[in-house]
Amino acid sequence: MKHLGLILIGFVMLYPVLWMIVSSLRPDDEIFRSPGLILDSLRTENYAEGWNALTPSFGTYLLNSTILVLGCIVGNLVSCSMAAYAFARLHFSGKRWWFGIMLGTIMLPIHVIIVPQYVLFSQLGWVNTFLPLIVPKVLATDAFFVFLMVQFIRGLPRELDEAARIDGCGHPRIFLRIILPLMKPALATTTIFTFIWTWNDFFGQLIYLTDPDMYTVPVALRSFVDSTVATSWGSQFAMSVVSLVPIFLAFLVGQRYLVKGIATTGGK
């Protein structure tokens, strides 16, 4: 009985996704005239057409998104863990104050900072490269992950550090040998969230990547739709399905770590 209820609710939640998948297999003109889930004709051409609908083809966008995502993941893992170690274990003046400022950056909406940021990056000649999107990550600007890792490190017993210190370790070695190996769940959470958020981010990529050769998946997907003219919804849905596959896989693989990471950091 409980399962039946869960399946039912699950179906309701999944309905839009199922509808998208079904619609990606329908001819354009049928999509909005027959709103049900039952397919009366299978049309797989949407996938081929969608793949080649824009120039360059969709493979380029997938590749660009992948490069961007990998860069952001590496940047976040390296920089946020170091920043978090500093906040959790080091003593320096104004630590609380800096921590507060760091958390405050979460509340700054992107629209406020986008123009000065754009001016800065365009002066550096970085517009139309992935640099404006990756370099900030290397500087631990994702305060959410820093906070997540700080909470995690605070949960690790200090005795471990002290034992290492007695054995002659300085901060670099304590960080690399003791803290980092114990932080795996938090690192996994960071990896997965960075993946999903970067893969789905639209605004930054729209602003900084102007050349179609540099477009990423979200920017390309949006280029299919224009509310003023007829849109090839079939192709767009097909490509949406394609772009969901990596996210789905990432979640499938990382789900275990994700739950663990949240369970061990959020509880405090």
Binding site: F202, P212, S223
Partner: protein
């Protein structure tokens, strides 16, 4: 621009930022100089969907073949993203050289000095074959900030398949009134037993519907000095009409109207065969016919024979050149190519509207689909009056404001009277704030 478009309001902030950054720049260009033989790269940005991207990229290649030293980098976006990105790049002094411009925004950008007066580049930009009334839509105080690309006209689209199905005769559009539209719509609603509505609630997303009402009574939204001169009675009358349609079941209930209104063309009542009449731009006939699979016929607007004609040419979009382009002469030459080249026109066809260039319009006539031909014929034959004043600077939120008040009226949160007064006040203060 057209029915079903969402508009960003938050960007007014960015636009005013743009203004402050733009002060320092004049055009000071060599727009009248010779075309260079050096290699030049121009950035060209437009909004649209995949079909437009393809056609435009093809035309870019054709131009590059003719001018091997000029490289055009095409950047395609969709509507909302386009304006977000344009406002940001403008503020950072990094705008594309050639851009697609919309009527709502052209004054906002031009009056802040962001667009080149194309008269300076006359040597490279040929506008001889344009209808003067059409060309005037891209000019502000004698300065040509945009070349109109395509023209559209508001029209009523009638689904003749539905009319035949419910035995409702097609009304005579040369002398019908708004009341006639309501009557015939009511017949359809009654005959279908509630499955199909008579009229898709007209003009809820953009101000053209209201503007036409005003024009038919000899009034307008704005006067030449960008003052809102719309008499509140006309706005009251407009909203009373729309809410009557919804209340009497001639049009869908408010929730459906609002949902469909923001869902885009393919999901509209006309495209899904759930309304017999709808107010649309004549150029959308092809897209709507494809989406609905039914026979659609373009009718003249109601009320045109009772008062003054309210119909006018609406430029679907403009080609504009950035005032800070480093290569204004080459940019102008590219715009000229887009506007005048017959080979290019044969690729672009009517995707951006029926061409405003009369020579081009005839040149492609033979290649047009039935529905495009009907749209062209509508444009060629239906009488028009002078275009309304270009939406003034600060007016780019006009449609969003109208939509909000329409929702208030439809859902009974405001009377048409109250909405009319509030609407006029709000628009005036937006325009004043941008001065």
């Amino acid at each position: 621009m057209f029915e079903g478009v969402h508009r960003r309001t938050a960007l007014t902030v960015l636009l005013s930022l743009t203004a402050s950054l733009l002060v320092a720049c004049g055009s000071g260009s060599d727009a009248g100089g010779e075309l260079t033989a050096e290699p030049v790269t121009l950035r060209f940005s437009w909004w649209g969907a995949d079909d437009r991207h393809k056609r435009t990229q093809q035309v870019i290649e054709m131009f590059q073949k003719k001018h091997p030293n000029i490289t055009i980098k095409g950047e395609f976006k969709e509507w909302n993203g386009y304006w977000d990105s344009l406002a940001t790049t403008m503020a950072a002094n990094d705008a594309p050289d050639v851009m697609q411009m919309d009527e709502l925004y052209i004054a906002s950008y031009a009056e802040r000095g962001a667009l080149l007066d194309l008269n300076e580049a006359k040597k490279h930009l040929d506008t001889a074959n344009f209808d003067q009334k059409a060309l005037a839509t891209g000019a502000i105080e004698g300065k040509q900030y945009g070349v109109p690309v395509g023209l559209g006209m508001y029209s009523i689209m009638a689904n003749t398949d539905l009319l035949a199905k419910y035995n409702v005769p097609l009304p005579d559009d040369t002398k019908w009134s708004w009341d006639d539209l309501k009557k015939v719509g009511d017949q359809v609603s009654k005959a279908s037993g509630g499955t199909v509505w008579g009229v898709q609630s007209p003009g809820i997303n953009d101000t053209a519907g209201l503007s036409i009402r005003a024009r038919q009574q000899g009034k307008a939204l704005f006067d030449q000095n960008a003052k809102v001169v719309l008499p509140p009675e006309i706005a009251t009358q407009y909203w009373t009409y729309i809410s009557d349609l919804a209340k009497t079941g001639v049009a869908p209930p408010p929730s459906v109207t609002i949902e469909k209104g923001s869902a885009g063309l393919n999901m509209s009542a006309t495209a899904t065969n759930t309304a017999a009449f709808g107010l649309w731009w004549n150029t959308q006939l092809t897209a709507l016919t494809a989406a609905s699979g039914a026979k659609l016929k373009l009718l003249r607007l109601p009320g045109e024979s009772q008062g003054k004609p309210g119909a006018y040419y609406k430029p679907s979009m403009f080609w504009s050149v950035s005032s800070r382009s480093k290569h204004p002469a080459e940019a102008a030459a590219f715009v000229s190519f887009l506007a005048n080249d017959e080979e290019a026109a044969k690729v672009l066809l009517t995707e951006r509207g029926v061409p405003a260039n009369l020579k081009i319009r005839e040149a492609i006539a033979g290649q047009l689909k039935e529905t495009d031909k009907a749209a062209k014929e509508y444009l060629d034959t239906v009488p028009v009056s002078d275009p309304p004043r270009i939406t003034p600077k600060g007016g780019s939120t006009l449609d969003a404001i109208l939509k909000r008040h329409t929702e208030d009226v439809l859902f009974g949160r405001a009377t048409p009277d109250a909405a009319a007064t509030a609407f006029i006040k709000e628009v005036q203060s937006e325009v004043d704030a941008a001065r």
